[in-house]
Structures are given as structure tokens and as C-alpha cells.
């Protein structure tokens, strides 16, 4: 599918062989064209096999066992944590807390740090481009605690209005929580600068990294975020596991979240003492096989090189925006390719996004249609839904061409 004199640095022919699903025929003669990585990424064989192997050879519960399998499982689980910590350049693996997903990571902060530190009237700054995962936990806290919410507006070209942000910061916010990269517009927000400004204003910063960690090199020490949340399943890893990174002192100061096995140092009938980091926040049997898979996913990305991945995605995205723009009736949302990751959200005049996605699916092209868990952003743009094509390390320009041809077919059917 990919010609060998292609200029990209990633060897797409080899890479695509790593992903068994990309070979799938959905129906006779209809090969999969997967353009929905923003929802969840596909998994390379190395990740699938690592989990398979774990269950076939090493499966045991961790931490409390002294037998060989328990020791092996514990080592595998904790080694994965170390590699993930290194991948995001955390100072220590103790700052990497396993959760189910980005959503749980954000809720963990809302339930522990925020409930321990926010009083009625305290201001939390969010943005208009947040995923529901970074809105609803704060809605819940607003209802329960009477905190105040305000929002950094999104401009018509899909960027955060940083002038208004500056004004909001003058109102003494306690927390600023924003997405590093929008899952609809693709916008990569200037996180380091936003964090610096928030810190100057005395606020704690939580970054939703669900879309950034899979696609960009992120460096916790350079960014200086207080909390950072992401999911394995969007970065070639398994479902069922995510991470909350936090600054050590903050994590140590926080009350625990879920109570149970492993998060304790000692339990009496009527009281308990919490364990040290990171176990304090990991109650019960964790997603062990998933941690093993996550570690291998991080190795896979590291081997390819995050800079190479970002460069490849940039090239594909630039091409995709160019080609989509040419199609009469297509309206693209979000900034130009140089300010965004591999996401192209669009509407097609006269055709509902669900119909676009469904008709593309007849040719095996998987795009997402809907509000992409960002209803307020869609409302802002006055539309109920968009179609979204998204690109990852395994996507090719040929697949963009298939998408464009598919959209012409849609137009013909509804023409």
C-alpha cells in the first residue's frame, strides 16, 4: 500500500505489519482503513503478545506474594511503571499512579486534592474545548461544594483565547485544568506557558494529556504540571489502564481515594494507615496484565521515537487538511496543521455526520461521528456533531485519499 520511495521517516510498510487489525477484511474485498485513533488506538503485536504471555506464563496477584509467579508479576508490573515514568520524564516512578483511564485520573484529583483544598467560591478555570471527562467532575464538585467555574474561550479558528486567560488568572484561581490537545479541533495548547502563568497566579494545574501523550514528546519536568492524566488505550496500549502523574509533595499531601487492599500500611478493625506512594492510590487488585501491556506500548513508541511519530502525523495531517478543504461543502474545524495534531473534524453540507461515517464505513473507512464527548465545544460552533478522521503512526497518505474518495461518494448519494 505504501511505496518504498516515500519520504517519511517512519517505515510504514514495516509498522503496519506490527498491527494485525490493519490487515482485516471487514467484508469480502473491504479492507479496514482505521481513522479513529483519537477514540482509541490499535495495538501492535508486541503489546498483544506481552499480555497473552503474561496470562500464559506469569499470571499471579502482586505485592503480597512470595512465590515465583507473584514475584514475577510484581516485577513486571513495577518495571512497566518505571518505563512509563521514564517515557514522560517523571522524576520518580512513585509519581506514576495507575488508574483505569484519563477519566478516572481526573476524578481522582477532583475527589481527593480538590475536595481537600477547595472551598465554596474558589475558582477553577477550565476551557471551552474540554472533553466531558474534564468538565463533569468539576460540575459535580460545583454542585456539591459551591466552587466557581470559568472557562477560557475558544476562538473561531480553534485556539484558546489567552488574553482572556490572563484576565481569568487575575481572579485568583485555585486550579487551572485544561487539555494539552483537543480531541476535536486537534489544537495543541501552549501547555508549558499556560502552566507557568497559572503558577505565577498561585494556582495548581491539572493537564488532560489523553491526546498529547500518544502523539507528542511530553516531559513532566519541563512542563512542570502538578497533575497530568492519560490513558494507555490511546497510545497503543490496552484498555482498562491509565495514569495519573502528580508532583510528589502534592500526592503525599492528598487523602487516599479508594480504600482497600494494597493502599494500606496497616489496618485495624476501626482504622487504617495509608501506604506510601504510589500504592496509596491503588486499591485492590490492579490491572496487572494491562500494566504489562502498557509498558510494552511505551517501549514501542520509544523505539519509533516520539519526534518521528509527531513528524509523520504532521505530514499526514497537512496533506489531509489540504485534500479535505478542496471538497465542496466540507467545512473543517480547528487551526491549521502547524498548530494541531492528527485530527480533522469536519461537516459536510446537507449530510448528517452519522450518515457520512456510516457511508464511509461501507468502504471500510472508520471515522467517528458525533460530539466526541465535547458537547459544549460543538454548541459553541453551533453544530450538534462533526465527522472526525484522526491519524496515527500507522496511517498513510493513501488512506487519506481513500477518505477523500469516500466523501465524494457520500456527496453523490445525497446529491
Amino acid at each position: 500500500m505504501f511505496t518504498s520511495n516515500d519520504p517519511m521517516t517512519l517505515n510504514l510498510i514495516e509498522i503496519r505489519k506490527d498491527f494485525p487489525i490493519l490487515d482485516r477484511e471487514l467484508r469480502p474485498g473491504v479492507r479496514l482503513t482505521y481513522l479513529d485513533t483519537t477514540a482509541t488506538a490499535q495495538k501492535p503485536l508486541a503489546v498483544i503478545n506481552a499480555m497473552d504471555d503474561f496470562y500464559r506464563r506469569s499470571n499471579a496477584n502482586i505485592h503480597r506474594g512470595v512465590h515465583t509467579l507473584a514475584e514475577e508479576a510484581t516485577t513486571l508490573y513495577e518495571n512497566a511503571r518505571e518505563r512509563i515514568a521514564k517515557f514522560i520524564n517523571a522524576e520518580s516512578a512513585r509519581q506514576v499512579i495507575y488508574t483505569r483511564n484519563t477519566t478516572e485520573s481526573i476524578n481522582l484529583v477532583a475527589y481527593t486534592w480538590a475536595r481537600a483544598n477547595l472551598k465554596p467560591g474558589d475558582l477553577v478555570i477550565l476551557t471551552e474545548m474540554e472533553h466531558h471527562s474534564n468538565l463533569v467532575p468539576w460540575h459535580m464538585l460545583q454542585a456539591e461544594r459551591g466552587i466557581e467555574l470559568d472557562f477560557i474561550p475558544v476562538t473561531q479558528d480553534g485556539l484558546l483565547d489567552l488574553v482572556t486567560y490572563g484576565m481569568l488568572l487575575e481572579r485568583n484561581p485555585k486550579l487551572v485544568s485544561f487539555t494539552h490537545m483537543s480531541n476535536v479541533l486537534g489544537t495543541i495548547n501552549p501547555a508549558a506557558e499556560m502552566i507557568r502563568l497559572a503558577h505565577e497566579a498561585g494556582a495548581i494545574v491539572l493537564v488532560d494529556g489523553a491526546q498529547s501523550v500518544p502523539h507528542l514528546k511530553v516531559d513532566m519536568q519541563a512542563l512542570d504540571a502538578d497533575f497530568y492524566a492519560f490513558s494507555a488505550h490511546k497510545m497503543c496500549g490496552p484498555t482498562g489502564i491509565g495514569v495519573l502523574y502528580g508532583k510528589t509533595a502534592l500526592l503525599e499531601s492528598m487523602p487516599p481515594f479508594l480504600g482497600g487492599g494494597d493502599m494500606i500500611k496497616e489496618v485495624k478493625l476501626r482504622s487504617f494507615r495509608a501506604n506510601t506512594l504510589p500504592h496509596k492510590f491503588e486499591a485492590g487488585t490492579p490491572a496487572i496484565a494491562e500494566a504489562v501491556g502498557f509498558g510494552v506500548a511505551v517501549d514501542y513508541l520509544t523505539n519509533l521515537g516520539m519526534d518521528n511519530i509527531a513528524a509523520h502525523e504532521h505530514e499526514i495531517t497537512e496533506y489531509a487538511l489540504e485534500r479535505l478543504e478542496e471538497i465542496p461543502g466540507v467545512k473543517l474545524f480547528g487551526p491549521s496543521a502547524d498548530k494541531k495534531g492528527g485530527v480533522a473534524s469536519f461537516t459536510l453540507e446537507g449530510v448528517h455526520p452519522h450518515d457520512v461515517a456510516q457511508i464511509l464505513d461501507r468502504d471500510g473507512i472508520a471515522v467517528r461521528a458525533g460530539h466526541h464527548c465535547a458537547q459544549p465545544l460543538h454548541e459553541k460552533f453551533g453544530i450538534p456533531a462533526t465527522s472526525r478522521a484522526s491519524f496515527y503512526l500507522y496511517n498513510t497518505k493513501e488512506e487519506v485519499d481513500l477518505l477523500v474518495n469516500g466523501i465524494y461518494t457520500v456527496k453523490k448519494m445525497f446529491g
Binding site: 448528517h352 452519522h354 450518515d355 456510516q358 457511508i359 464505513d361 460530539h371 450538534p384 448519494m413 445525497f414
Partner: protein
Amino acid sequence: MDDLYREVIIEHYKNPSYRGKLDPHDISFADNNPLCGDHIQIDLRVSPDGVVTDARFDGHGCAISQASADLLIESIIGKPLEEVKKLNKESVLELLGIELGPVRLKCALLSLKVLKAGVYGLQEASDSLVE
């Protein structure tokens, strides 16, 4: 799959026969599919002996939801409410003449859900449609 966008569906979507409102009406109800923002309102006129004498739908959404609304309205005009109450998932799929996966099923059934909510009251309607 290939008949998911049968001519008839696209035709009912592009040129619906029963789009609009009824004023006055005896029953009116609206709801939306939160997954995609599809919105349907249905107005009914019902005779004293419980027969649907006229009906219209209004709203916006995908071809499946709008076409199924148009087809559904067409099918109930002239029918007694008791028969309308008996309509189910299968009735709608028969009208559309296609098979649907779980997500698009919600689009297809939105108009039926609205209709039943109008006829029965909301709770029973959603109970009767839960997959």
C-alpha cells in the same frame, strides 16, 4: 450493509411527506438522542374514539432518524392508538427494511421512542425500548 441507504431512506430524508407541526394537536412530545444530537418532535391529532387522524414530525438529525420518523408517521395515520402502542423495534426496522447495529438502532428508534412517550408517558416508553 449495502442497503442501509436504500433509495427510499434517502428519499424520505430529503423529501419527507410528514415533516411539520400540527396546531392544534392532542398529543405532542419531543426528545433527542444525546449521542448525536438528533431531535424529534411529534404532534398527533386523535379522534374521540382513539384513532390517529393526523400526525407530523419535526426535528433534525441523520437520514436514518429522519426517514424512520417520516415512515413511522405515515404508518400510524388512520390507526387506533391501541395499535400504535403495540409498535416495537421490529415494526420500525420493517418500515426501514434494513438491519442496524446497536448505535444506529438508537437513531432509528428515536421517533418511536418519542411517539410512545407521547402516547404512554415517558417512563414506560423508555422501559419498553431498552435493549
